[in-house]
């Protein structure tokens, strides 16, 4: 029955020892909805389900790190660069480049030679320079950072840089950490911090923040997702609160770290804000032309008119021009106007349209009453403004209009491809 010789057994043992499961996914993902995390736990322990659902509301976006042993290191490193970029302050980046270079004295003091550490420091500096350039060039988003962190060499080099800095910092401040370690500090560093792909633990994370991140002035907050009592994840501030308010937020699930983005961050950063601005900007010609929606009741009666993005973009319009009674209508000035063959003769007599607003103007649902907004004068455009979407930090851009709110381009609209219902049922499956 002994089919396998000792040699073969040894070979299989070796294969088994060396086996590494293939982990899917990018090293650093693009921003995604935190609902995906809630979905992961929808059939799990109710505590986890409750907490992840609450998390998806307070922190609507997240960024998933690849679980290859470097996730904690990578999350902090990426969060550091991303936070720097989000501040859009080139002077601050110049300061950081100087600071990162000056930290090499730590490495020298623990006996690492320049020939060993320079390529790691170079990688960090290179990405800091790229961040500087991105701000100067007015980069829209942090996709250049996602790209850099998904490039194996760059990602490994920056993580190694942060690891060796942490290790040097700990060796130079042994009294601060030794009491928390299960082994001598030197052994801890050489087995838990320095080797590639060793998971960061609490002590290592604290040392990384103390030694590398703290000097940047950024705060770091960890939200612990576990089965402890409570309805929300447990936040833990790993550094004192910063006047700058810039904080890297990590989600910790036992053995894994990801990055989280709270609500404010989302509204400041998410492209949807730009879209709203862009769409409302396109309305401005109406303003100049003093087009009154009230006057144009036939226009408003066209179903789903406002759901068509091409409407505001100057794309061909169907029968509006012939219906419009006002020669000042901007639709008449549309460049596509000439290409359009009106189904009706333009000069045909049109029955007079009442100037006073008809009782039922709203496209689909009645908008909530206006509250804080100053009412527009009667000769201005009567765009209906929804106070519910007048978030304070949107006030500098134009408000979201009711038609936008009701359009499928709004993420909260059920027809939007990104629409996610907040409601969740334990037995529900996707």
């Amino acid at each position: 029955m002994n089919a396998l010789s000792a040699d073969e057994m040894e070979r299989f043992q070796k294969l088994s020892n060396n086996y590494q499961p293939e982990i899917q996914g990018p090293l650093v993902s693009t921003k995604q909805s935190s609902h995906s995390i809630a979905l992961d736990y929808s059939n799990a322990d109710p505590t986890l389900a409750t907490k992840t659902n609450a998390l998806a509301i307070t922190h609507p976006e997240c960024r998933i790190m690849k679980g290859d042993g470097n996730c904690g290191w990578r999350a902090v490193a990426f969060g550091y660069f991303e936070t720097l970029f989000a501040l859009r302050d080139t002077l601050r980046i110049e300061t950081e480049i100087r600071r990162m270079k000056s930290l090499t004295t730590l490495l020298e003091r623990v006996g690492l030679s320049d020939s060993i550490y320079e390529i790691f420091v170079d990688a960090t500096e290179e990405v800091l320079n790229r961040t500087h350039a991105a701000i100067q060039n007015g980069a829209q988003d942090e996709s250049f950072l996602v790209e850099a962190f998904n490039e194996g060499y760059c990602s490994d080099a920056i993580i190694t840089h942060f690891r060796i800095l942490t290790s040097a910092w700990m060796k130079l401040n042994p009294n601060r950490y030794q009491a928390f370690l299960p082994m001598p500090l030197d052994q801890y560093c050489s087995t838990r911090i320095d080797p590639v792909k060793t998971e960061i633990d609490e002590v290592g994370l604290q040392a990384l923040i103390d030694g590398v991140i703290e000097g940047s002035g950024f705060g770091v907050e960890i939200l612990y997702l576990d089965r402890s009592e409570g309805d929300v994840v447990t936040p833990h501030q790993l550094s004192s609160d910063r006047p700058s308010g810039a904080t890297i937020r990590l989600l910790y699930r036992p053995g894994h770290y990801d990055i989280l983005y709270p609500v404010e961050h989302n509204l400041n950063m998410a492209p949807i804000v730009n879209l709203q601005y862009g769409m409302t900007s396109d309305y401005s010609p109406w303003d100049q032309a003093s087009l009154g929606f009230d006057v144009n009741s036939s226009l408003m009666a066209i179903p789903n008119l406002m759901q068509d993005t091409s409407f505001g973009m100057g794309a061909p319009m169907s029968p509006m021009p012939s219906v419009s009674p006002t020669p000042a209508s901007p639709f008449r000035m549309s460049p596509q106007q000439d290409m359009y063959q009106s189904p009706m003769p333009t000069h045909a007599p049109i029955p007079p349209i009442p100037v006073s607003p008809p009782p039922q103007i709203a496209p689909s649902s009645a908008p909530p009453p206006m509250t804080s907004l100053p009412s527009r004068s009667s000769d201005g455009p009567q765009i209906r403004l929804n106070p519910l979407v007048m978030k304070p930090n949107l006030s500098r851009s134009l408000p979201v209009t009711t038609p936008f709110k009701n359009s499928p381009y709004n993420q909260a609209h059920f027809q939007n491809s990104d629409f996610e219902p907040i409601h969740w049922e334990p037995h529900e499956r996707r």
């Binding site: 060993i116 320079e118 490994d156 050489s190």
Partner: protein, 152 residues
């Protein structure tokens, strides 16, 4: 690429001030990833007076992955596979224990130290490890004989 930069610097350092009993050169001048290492058997070990040729290969991901070390010269040792590969993979050379801040010089010194002090509990050749533990005299005899036969 950073890895070439680092490898070149390490090669220069090792050529200018080689560790005791170790001499390195590139197997092919146009390829920094393949090295030939000439190692003298350490004094006090059955490999003394032997000259071992070791192939050191650096992965393109170096220094984020460890170099691989293999003995081109046949050697009787519990931690070196007794086959045409002659590979040695333990301690700092393991992928999961590798530190990007380790130098090639340290790898070679580690390998030479291993000739003097085998690690039978981490052996790849179980039979030689048994013998090393239970019959040291016979182990040293065979190792010396192999050194004479293949490494002189």
């Amino acid at each position: 690429m950073g890895s070439v930069k680092r490898i070149s610097k390490e090669l220069t350092e090792l050529t200018e001030s080689p560790p005791a009993g170790i001499r390195v050169e590139l197997a092919d001048e146009s390829n920094v990833y393949e090295w030939k290492v000439h190692m003298e058997g350490p004094e006090g070990s059955p490999f003394h007076n032997g000259k071992f040729l070791i192939k050191l290969s650096l992965p393109t991901e170096y220094p984020f992955k460890p170099p691989t070390v293999s003995f081109a010269t046949k050697i009787y040792h519990p931690n070196v596979t007794n086959d045409e590969k002659g590979s040695m993979c333990l301690g700092m050379l393991r992928a999961d224990e590798w530190k990007p801040s380790s130098k090639i010089a340290a790898v070679l010194q580690f390998a030479r130290q291993l000739l003097a002090e085998p690690m039978p509990d981490d052996a790849v050749e179980g039979r030689i490890a048994e013998q090393y533990k239970n019959d040291r005299v016979r182990y040293e005899e065979v190792a010396r004989e192999w050194t004479r036969k293949y490494a002189c």
